[in-house]
Symmetry: C2
Subunit: 344 residues, 2 copies
Amino acid sequence: MAKTYKIAVIPGDGIGKEVTPWAQQALEKAAQGEAEFTYEHFDLGAERYLRDGAILPEDEEERIKTNDAILLGAVGDPRIKAGILERGLLLKLRFDLDQFVNLRPSKLYKGVTSPLANPGDIDFVVVREGTEGLYCGAGGAVRRDTPHEVATEVSINTAYGVERVVRYAFQLAMKRRKHVTLVHKKNVLVNAGDMWQRLVEKVAAEYPEVTHDYQHIDAATIFLVSDPSRFDVILTDNLFGDILTDEAGAVVGGVGYSASGCINATNEFPSMFEPIHGSAPDIAGQNKANPTAAILSAAMLLRHLGFDEAAAKIDAAVEADIEELGSTQRSTDEVGRDILARIA
Amino acid sequence: MAKTYKIAVIPGDGIGKEVTPWAQQALEKAAQGEAEFTYEHFDLGAERYLRDGAILPEDEEERIKTNDAILLGAVGDPRIKAGILERGLLLKLRFDLDQFVNLRPSKLYKGVTSPLANPGDIDFVVVREGTEGLYCGAGGAVRRDTPHEVATEVSINTAYGVERVVRYAFQLAMKRRKHVTLVHKKNVLVNAGDMWQRLVEKVAAEYPEVTHDYQHIDAATIFLVSDPSRFDVILTDNLFGDILTDEAGAVVGGVGYSASGCINATNEFPSMFEPIHGSAPDIAGQNKANPTAAILSAAMLLRHLGFDEAAAKIDAAVEADIEELGSTQRSTDEVGRDILARIA
Ligand SMILES: CC(C)[C@H](C(=O)O)[C@@H](O)C(=O)O
Ligand SMILES: CC(C)[C@H](C(=O)O)[C@@H](O)C(=O)O
């Protein structure tokens, strides 16, 4: 008998609301007979905040935690000051739910035009640390709005937090082409960089089959443009991972094809799956947004729950859809229906 | 009568030694009749460090300060632990000499192949803050090499330090296409980001002709690939500037064509000019390195000293050389001679 999973759904703002239902439908169709899903919807994001000032009320966060996984659409609205929703909702969930692996695959699909003249065969995954670094919110300001203002931002990195994500990257590499590239800026950020490098050496010793190398973040942004096919697993911290995955999204033809998992690899709390793109207020409500990335995030969710075959069905459907129809103008619903029809 | 300027020359390591003499020759030829140069050579870099352990002795730094400008080749050697020369020499000079503007033009020359399929007309300048942010070396580690290790890196940002570089960017924009793009991550780094944004608004009010906008660093890395011609002046902090300029270098066909000025805009201390590329130990000593970026750094030096016409001569010679011969295989000396011959 099919087991039932409880999914918390946070469609969020703008196009998030339009693409998330397609992710749910893909989930159900791909897992038919194997798993069933019940949904609990959470009205969180810019509209809720503008309506009643709530960002992530404690009782709602507690209810989110009782679910097996989270599907998120997109959060954000230009009317709201930068940082409020990001730190109050998105990052708060990542941190409180200890989603220490931010997993972001980049793949150049057949049928997608890369902005690169000779992109080669791009297929890598960024393993971005999700609960430390400059994202801690540790920082402050004195003498604000005076000529003597000083503002700080503190990057906090722990051996506990780094080692677990390093280990995740090496485990993942074992299932792939067995190469890990650590990206940091250890020639300047010597304290954190040195710790990352030492922990990579330590864990690497446990995985003799996996080769590894190191690149400074500045050099890595060059290679993403000049030779992206060299990468298999990129392992990096929270801020560098944010930067590299957006550049990677551009290189594989746009963040519209990139999904992301915020993963609590110990399963103590639910993991969260989302497209990399934002809420895109300029095209919201017009049935224009491409639901592909959201549908790919459903595949990541299935893989996380252990349904590798069901996940592979979605991936294959997306791949075939893009190859055949990727360059045609279609509405959100058309793309959604086309992909759904291919999920065998 | 031609005025004489004292130039401190730090060829450094690897190909730095091969390209720097060409920068000196370009300097002399372009400024003939207008300015003369005397050189004081400083033996600093990896080889010196490996020989006698010295990185930047105090008396040598004091002598460097007595010069009118500094020409730097490249510093670095894989035998030396990351951070030692960077922080002890390169960053120490930038900080001690208060070189608060790190000026990095990116231009796609005719004759250079960009890795982008449709690069468009790329011609922008990154104004990178050079004396603050995560580069301060403020950070530390406790319980090193234990499972309880914590390592921090602190970004320090002051209104004093930010406002002066913001002002420089707007002044520069007035001489260009009159647009400034602030790049930061103000939705996460809310303390520093908010201060940068406020100071941009303040200074922008003094330059009504200059338009300005804002991009998060992650979005900026996308636009550098998808639409780089949109940029005129990019204004950003020390770390984001490091990252963006390397990506920009890749987009305009390789860091081999990118020069950089570490500028003390008040002239209290000498400014420093260098190619963006590193010491490239793999091709060092083989007469293979391209001296173009070093020669372009000589043009920046001339412009800084007020010799705009002489600088323009070098720029024009480089431009013509690349357009005609950019795709041919040439030795360091051949490229140097070819460019020199074109300096009218
Ligand atoms: C919205 C923002 C806080 C977030 C981040 O920086 O992590 C986003 O850019 C992402 O990459 O998911
Ligand atoms: C060598 C390193 C310290 C330096 C930096 O990060 O500033 C380099 O990457 C640069 O961009 O000049």
